[in-house]
């Protein structure tokens, strides 16, 4: 400011009324509604189930970055839960849908570089590792699928875990907070690869309990899963770029643990 105000500067304490982990309830409700609406739009099929999965999977990470890990996970879970009832055609198995949504928001929100939530990646990475071991381990040791087929078919899952554990996590957070739109878009794409991958892993574990794909299905999953995951990343980058630019422009209050 060129001319300093006459009044004494006061300490501003932020209180947004009803909030969850620093995210206003209104934001949570709004984003849950967006997730529910996108649950109507099928993105691709789920092999062996005759069902599809929804476009909303592309924005689970975005919701986590906008609201933080806890509120993001809750908004995703509420939206997914509503979607299960209103758009059952995109839900293979409700537990998988909701747990996947929850994990996506949690993982994305935990990619923070600063604050207490920046340390959440460590326990989460242990949990996701256990989930992967259970998922892939059942395929190999219980169902007799070949290890190379399972590794190839679950490429998006283990690569997401690796990128989550490595410093790429912080790199994504840095890009998301960057002023340049291109960096933000890149952060959204790569970040969606990571968080939506972990969301997919969590949901797949639940689905796999039901469908027990044989070895051939793991092979077929290689190109399909990759293509679908790229579509998720594209959805996250396109929607997220507009949303983050709009939020910055309107000066709307940023939740305490937001990562953008």
């Amino acid at each position: 400011m060129s001319n300093l105000p006459l009044g004494e500067e006061r300490e501003v304490k932020r209180s947004s009324g009803v909030s969850l982990d620093g995210a206003p309830l209104t934001y949570i409700v709004t984003l849950a509604a967006v997730v529910a609406v996108l649950a109507f739009v099928p993105l691709s099929v789920v092999l062996g189930s005759g069902k599809s999965f929804p476009l909303s999977q592309g924005i689970y990470p975005l919701v986590g970055w906008l609201l933080g890990p806890v509120a993001g996970a809750v908004a995703n879970a509420i939206g997914a839960l509503i979607g299960v009832f209103l758009a059952p055609h995109t839900s293979t198995f409700p537990v998988a849908t909701i747990s996947g949504a929850l994990a996506g928001g949690l993982a994305a929100g935990a990619m923070a570089r600063r604050g207490s939530r920046s340390r959440w990646w460590l326990p989460l990475s242990v949990v996701f590792l256990l989930v992967y071991l259970l998922y892939a381990g059942r395929a190999v040791f219980q169902n007799g699928a070949r290890l190379d087929a399972v590794l190839a078919g679950s490429f998006i899952d283990w690569s997401a875990w690796l990128l989550f554990v490595l410093p790429t996590r912080g790199l994504v957070a840095g890009w998301l907070a960057h002023a340049e739109k291109q960096r933000v878009a890149a952060g959204l794409f790569l970040g969606t690869w990571i968080a939506a991958g972990l969301s997919h892993l969590t949901g797949s574990l639940a689905v796999y309990l039901l469908v027990n794909w044989p070895n051939e299905v793991w092979g077929a999953m290689v190109p399909l899963a990759l293509l679908e995951h790229l579509a998720r990343c594209l959805v996250g980058a396109v929607i997220g770029s507009g949303v983050i630019a709009g939020l910055r422009a309107t000066g709307m209050v940023k939740p305490t643990h937001a990562v953008y």
Partner: protein
């Protein structure tokens, strides 16, 4: 009413300054202001002056929700707004915002009012008593079980006031509560607020551009500009300063503008009246002493010529739920006409114009554009010929920069990059937005957001341009800028259709008026004739501009339209130049 020493103010601002997060300039700057109990304070200022920010400061949303930097002290009902959460302040301050639609969430009038009370754990019996009381106070008795969306615009806003009132606040803050209402709806809201103020002694702070109404109802007026308090005084003191208001892009009441012009001719009215009845009295006195000399010839609107460009024959439209929105309407609009469509909220104005773009299809009858039945045309084809600027600009904004927003449609229509750039630049320049080309449209104030949408439509160079309430939420300067663009387009031979409730803005622009009421065509006449059909206008909840009502007080009731014309009538005989 002056502030008397010893009165404990409901609002006390001491050197309040505020910066939004990441903002370079303060939204409020060094504001010191006291509002005493039972006072009605009008808050006026150009777009972006800080009116909304000041309103939000009064219940602590600024800065508690937005963050940012806050200087000075704001005390409401004795509570420091930085030391008490908004939930506590909400018991003392009721808020009503511009758009009633955004505030109503419940499925019945009764539930809407109960919502805030439930959140504050008010006992059930107390809640029932308060609901009855507030419904009576805002004259919505008997509508307890109606769905809020069944109410008219004025009724919805009164319901929003009722919901705020149920908390029994000491202070009621209203941020442009009438800008989206027809004149009678606005009058209803003002009358309700004034009654609450007088009967219950409730303190009122109302921000807005409705100068005629604020002059009538407010005790004091605070003029904000660029975040600073520029002037504070009674309506007589503030609205009589016509040059000060114009310097801040504000519009004085037409009665004040009329007597200001009379005064400039050499005649010296004892003071500039700011209310209609005072103006009528002063005009009678002047006319009795000096006589009047109405102009022998008044400018007339040229009649449209040639075959109709837009033609509606026996159009009836019924919404899916059975609501009859338009009933057997027939009219023709010719190339180059400037048509004003007016009528109460819900009269069917927007429904009518949406038929030109085939956004709606007739239930019966036909709509033709340049001779082709719209049923046989694609919406995209019609959109190239007819530009439509909808009521809410935010519904038409989705790009990341102002430039991209304006260029969007051109790129999609396959224009060469050079042509896209040239048209975009020209369109932005014509609306004074070129300097804003790199910013996000949503970061602009509402008035400028509306101008971005208009720029995007103009860049398409359509033959017909429809403006649906283009001046809502604009200050006088912003409204003029938009209408001046419409005038330039008209001069270029474009056909203009404007829907607005702000009749005082249109005499310099429109030629022909279509008056609608409850889905029917009540009148189709030249503007000068239509504006003087006072009874008919009132039948569709419209109020003629004050200048028209003043003119009707003159001998012979000359069909004058503007303060300049009325003043000119007297200026002739008072020694000034005749118009």
């Amino acid at each position: 009413m002056p502030f008397t020493e010893g009165t404990v103010p409901v609002v006390q601002l001491e050197q309040v300054s505020y910066l939004y997060p990441h903002a370079g300039a303060p939204a409020l700057k060094d504001i010191s202001l006291k509002v005493r109990p039972g006072e009605f304070l009008g808050l006026i200022g150009p777009t972006g002056a800080g009116k909304t920010t000041l309103c939000l400061t009064l219940n602590g949303i600024v800065p508690q929700f937005y963050g940012g930097r806050f200087f000075g002290r704001a005390t409401i009902a004795g509570l420091d707004t930085l030391e008490h959460p908004s939930s506590t302040l909400a018991r003392h301050v009721g808020m009503v915002f511009e758009d009633p639609e955004t505030q109503l969430t419940a499925t019945s009038v009764e539930n809407e009012i109960a919502f805030a009370l439930e959140n504050l754990s008010v006992p059930r019996e107390e809640m029932r008593a308060r609901i009855s009381w507030v419904l009576e106070a805002v004259r919505l008795e008997g509508m307890e079980h109606r769905h809020p969306h069944e109410l008219s615009g004025g009724q919805k806003q009164r319901l929003a006031i009722a919901a705020a009132l149920a908390l029994q606040p000491e202070l009621l803050v209203l941020d442009e509560p009438t800008s989206q209402l027809d004149p009678v709806g606005a009058q209803e809201v003002f009358a309700t607020v004034r009654e609450l103020n007088r009967a219950l002694g409730m303190t009122i702070v109302m921000a807005g551009h409705a100068s005629e109404e604020l002059a009538e109802f407010a005790d004091r007026i605070a003029l904000l500009s660029a975040g600073a308090l520029v002037a504070l005084g009674t309506p007589d003191e503030i609205y009589a300063q016509v040059e000060l208001l114009r310097a801040h892009h504000l519009r004085p009441p037409q009665v004040a503008a009329t007597f200001y012009l009379i005064g400039r001719t050499g005649a010296e009215p004892p003071r500039i009246p700011v209310r209609l009845e005072e103006g009528k009295t002063a005009l009678h006195r002047l006319a009795a002493t000096s006589g009047v000399n109405p102009p022998a010839r008044l400018p007339h609107s040229p009649a449209g010529e040639g075959p109709p460009l837009l033609s509606i024959q026996n159009l009836t439209y019924r919404y899916g739920d059975g609501t009859l929105a338009l009933c057997d309407i027939s009219l023709d609009i010719r190339q180059g006409e400037y048509v004003l469509v007016i009528g109460q909220n819900g009269a069917g104005k927007s429904t009518l114009v949406k038929h030109f773009l085939r956004l709606l299809e007739p239930t019966a009858g036909s709509v033709r554009v340049a001779g082709s039945d719209t049923r046989a045309c694609r919406v995209s084809e019609l959109a190239r010929r007819i530009g439509y600027v909808a009521q809410n600009p935010d519904q038409q904004l989705f790009n990341a920069t102002v430039w991209d927003e304006v260029a969007f449609a051109l790129r999609n229509l396959g224009y060469a990059p050079g042509e896209v750039a040239a048209r975009t630049r020209e369109s932005l320049e014509s609306l004074g937005l070129l300097a804003r080309r790199a910013v996000h449209p949503l970061s602009l104030p509402r008035g400028e957001r509306a101008r971005v949408v208009i720029a995007a439509v103009l860049a398409m160079r359509p033959e017909v341009i429809i403006f649906d309430e283009p001046t809502t939420g604009q200050d006088a300067c912003g409204a003029r800028a938009i209408l001046d663009v419409s005038k330039r387009l008209h001069e270029l031979g474009k056909t203009l259709i404007v829907i607005t409730h702000q009749l005082y803005l249109m005499p310099e622009y429109a030629e022909r008026v279509i008056v609608m009421g409850k889905g029917t065509l009540l009148l189709d006449a030249p503007l000068r004739e239509a504006y003087h059909q006072v009874a008919l206008l009132r039948s569709t909840y419209l109020a003629p501009p004050q200048a028209v009502l003043l003119a009707r007080e003159l001998p012979g009731e000359p069909p004058l339209l503007t303060p300049a014309e009325v003043a000119g009538c007297l200026a002739c005989v008072l020694g000034g130049a005749c118009t």
